[in-house]
C-alpha cells in the first residue's frame, strides 16, 4: 500500500517542472520511506531516514533553490541514447540477480551464518541489547569509521568551495535589517525558545540511549544540528554565528574524527587489534561498553558540526547574494 504511494509521488516528482513543488514532494517521499521502513520493522534506519531525509535535506535544498532559479529548463532533444543505455544496464543487473536467493528466503547464506552469529552471540560478547548498535559500533567499527571520515570530508569540501570571509562591520548593518524583519515573528520565536532546550536534551537522550533503544550517534547529531538550524533561522544568521562561532565548530568536527581514531589506536597500544574493545578494560563487557560509548560520542560530534557548517555556509552565501541584489536594486532606483 505504501509502495503505491511511493510510486505515485516519484512519478509526480519527475513530471513536475516547478522545483519548489518538487522539494515539497521530496519531503513527502522521505516521510513515506520512513513509514515503509517502520512497517518492515527496521527501527534504527527509519529513525535516521526521518531525521535526515525529511528534515535536513528539504531545508538544504530550499536554501539552494532560493539562490538558483526555480524553473527547470526543458530539454531540447529526446534522450533516446540515454534511455537505451539505462534499459540495457538495468536488464543486465536484473539478470545478474536471478541467480541469488530470493529476498528473505530462509536458506540464504547470510541468514544462516552471518546473521545468526550476530543474533546469538551478541549478548554474551558485547552485552548491549540493541543488536544494530552492536553490529555498527563493534563488529563493523571499521566501516563506521569510513562513514565518519566521509562525512568529515564532505564538510571540508563545502568549506573549501563555498566559504566566504566574514567581515564584522557588514554584520552589524545587515543585523539591524534582520531584526526589523524578525519583529513580525514574535509568536514563533517564543515557542521556539521553549522548544529548543527540549530538542537539545532529546538529542543527548538519543545519543546515550543508543545501546538500549533506537538511536546512536548519527541520529543524535542530526537532531542537535536541526535545533541549531532552527535557532539560526528564526533569530538571524549573525546572532547565531556569535553564539556558535565558526572556528569552534570546525574544531569540534575534527575532534569527533580524532576521538574515533584514537579509540582504535588505544586498543592497539593496549595489545589487541585495531578497534578491538576487549582490551580496553579488565572485564571485556566493560571494555565493549566503554568503546561503544566513546565512538558514538565521536560520531555524534562530527555529524552535528558538519551539518551546522554546511547550513551556515549555504545560508551565508544566500545572504550575500540577497545583499548584492538589494544594493543593485537601490542603485537602479537612484540612477
Amino acid at each position: 500500500m505504501l509502495l503505491i504511494f511511493l510510486v505515485v509521488v516519484a512519478i509526480a516528482i519527475i513530471r513536475m517542472k516547478n522545483l519548489f513543488a518538487v522539494v515539497m514532494l521530496t519531503g513527502i517521499y522521505g516521510l513515506l520511506s520512513a513509514s515503509f521502513l517502520v512497517v518492515m520493522d527496521a527501527v534504527d534506519v527509519a529513525f535516521t531516514e526521518a531525521a535526515v531525509g525529511a528534515g535536513i535535506s528539504t531545508l538544504l535544498m530550499l536554501v539552494v533553490i532560493s539562490m538558483t532559479g526555480h524553473r527547470e529548463r526543458t530539454t531540447r532533444h529526446k534522450p533516446l541514447l540515454a534511455l537505451l543505455v539505462v534499459t540495457i544496464t538495468g536488464g543486465l543487473l536484473i539478470y545478474g540477480t536471478l541467480d541469488m536467493p530470493y529476498f528473505g528466503s530462509a536458506d540464504a547464506p547470510i541468514h544462516n551464518h552471518v546473521a545468526s552469529r550476530y543474533i546469538n552471540d551478541s549478548m554474551q560478547e558485547i552485552g548491549v541489547p540493541n543488536i544494530v548498535t552492536s553490529v555498527l559500533a563493534s563488529y563493523r567499527a571499521f566501516d563506521t569509521f569510513g562513514e565518519v571520515v566521509v562525512i568529515f570530508t564532505a564538510g571540508i569540501g563545502v568549506l573549501a568551495l563555498l566559504s566566504i570571509a566574514h567581515r564584522p562591520e557588514d554584520g552589524d548593518k545587515t543585523g539591524s535589517f534582520n531584526d526589523s524583519l524578525n519583529e513580525q515573528h514574535l509568536i514563533v520565536r517564543i515557542v521556539s525558545k521553549i522548544l529548543i532546550p527540549f530538542i537539545l536534551l532529546f538529542a543527548l537522550y538519543v545519543q546515550f540511549h543508543g545501546d538500549y533503544g533506537p538511536g546512536g550517534g548519527f541520529q543524535a547529531g542530526v537532531i542537535f544540528a536541526s535545533a541549531i538550524i532552527l535557532y539560526s533561522m528564526l533569530f538571524g544568521l549573525n546572532i547565531a554565528r556569535k553564539v556558535i562561532n565558526q572556528p569552534f565548530i570546525q574544531f569540534i568536527s575534527a575532534i569527533g574524527v580524532l576521538l574515533y581514531g584514537s579509540v582504535g589506536l588505544a586498543s592497539i597500544l593496549s595489545g589487541g587489534n585495531f578497534f578491538d574493545y576487549n582490551v580496553l578494560s579488565n572485564d571485556h563487557i566493560t571494555g565493549q561498553h566503554l568503546g561503544i560509548l566513546l565512538i558514538e560520542l565521536g560520531v555524534g560530534c562530527t555529524v552535528a558540526s558538519v551539518m551546522i557548517i554546511i547550513f551556515f555556509n549555504f545560508a551565508g552565501r544566500r545572504e550575500m547574494q540577497q545583499k548584492n541584489e538589494r544594493e543593485h536594486n537601490k542603485n537602479q532606483e537612484l540612477s
Binding site: E183, Q184, H185, I187, V188, V191, I194, L195
Partner: protein, 117 residues
C-alpha cells in the same frame, strides 16, 4: 475495570480517526486556502489528541505513558504555531481570501497600524 478501559479507549480512537478522515476530506473540498487551513489544523490537533488519549489508556507501563504525554504536549504546542506562521506568511505575501469584497480596506488599515514600531 478492564472492559471500561478497553471500551473508552476504543471510543477515543474512533472519534480521533473520524476527525482525521473528515479533516482529509475537508482539505480536498473547501474552496480557498484559508478555509482549508482551518480544516487541516483544527481537526489535526484534536484528532491527534483523541488518538493519543486512546493509546494512553492502553499503555502497559509508565514509560510509554510518559512518552505519549510528551508527544501530546508537543503536538498541542506545535500545531497552532505552524498554522499561525503559515497564515501570516500567506497574508503578508498578498494571498487574499476568495469571497471577501472589502479586503483591500482591511489590508490598508492593517498596514498603517503595523508600520508603527
Amino acid at each position: 475495570m478492564d472492559i471500561i478501559i478497553t471500551i473508552s479507549s476504543g471510543l477515543c480512537l474512533f472519534i480521533g480517526s473520524f476527525l482525521c478522515v473528515s479533516g482529509g476530506i475537508g482539505i480536498l473540498r473547501f474552496p480557498d486556502f484559508y478555509t482549508r487551513m482551518h480544516a487541516a489544523a483544527v481537526t489535526d490537533t484534536l484528532g491527534t489528541g483523541m488518538i493519543l488519549v486512546g493509546l494512553m489508556l492502553l499503555s502497559p507501563d509508565l514509560l510509554i505513558f510518559a512518552k505519549l504525554v510528551m508527544i501530546l504536549l508537543l503536538t498541542l504546542l506545535i500545531g497552532p504555531t505552524t498554522s499561525h506562521v503559515l497564515a501570516k506568511a500567506a497574508w503578508y505575501n498578498g494571498l487574499t481570501p476568495k469571497f471577501s469584497s472589502n479586503v483591500i480596506d482591511q489590508k490598508k488599515n492593517k498596514e498603517t497600524t503595523s508600520s508603527n514600531p
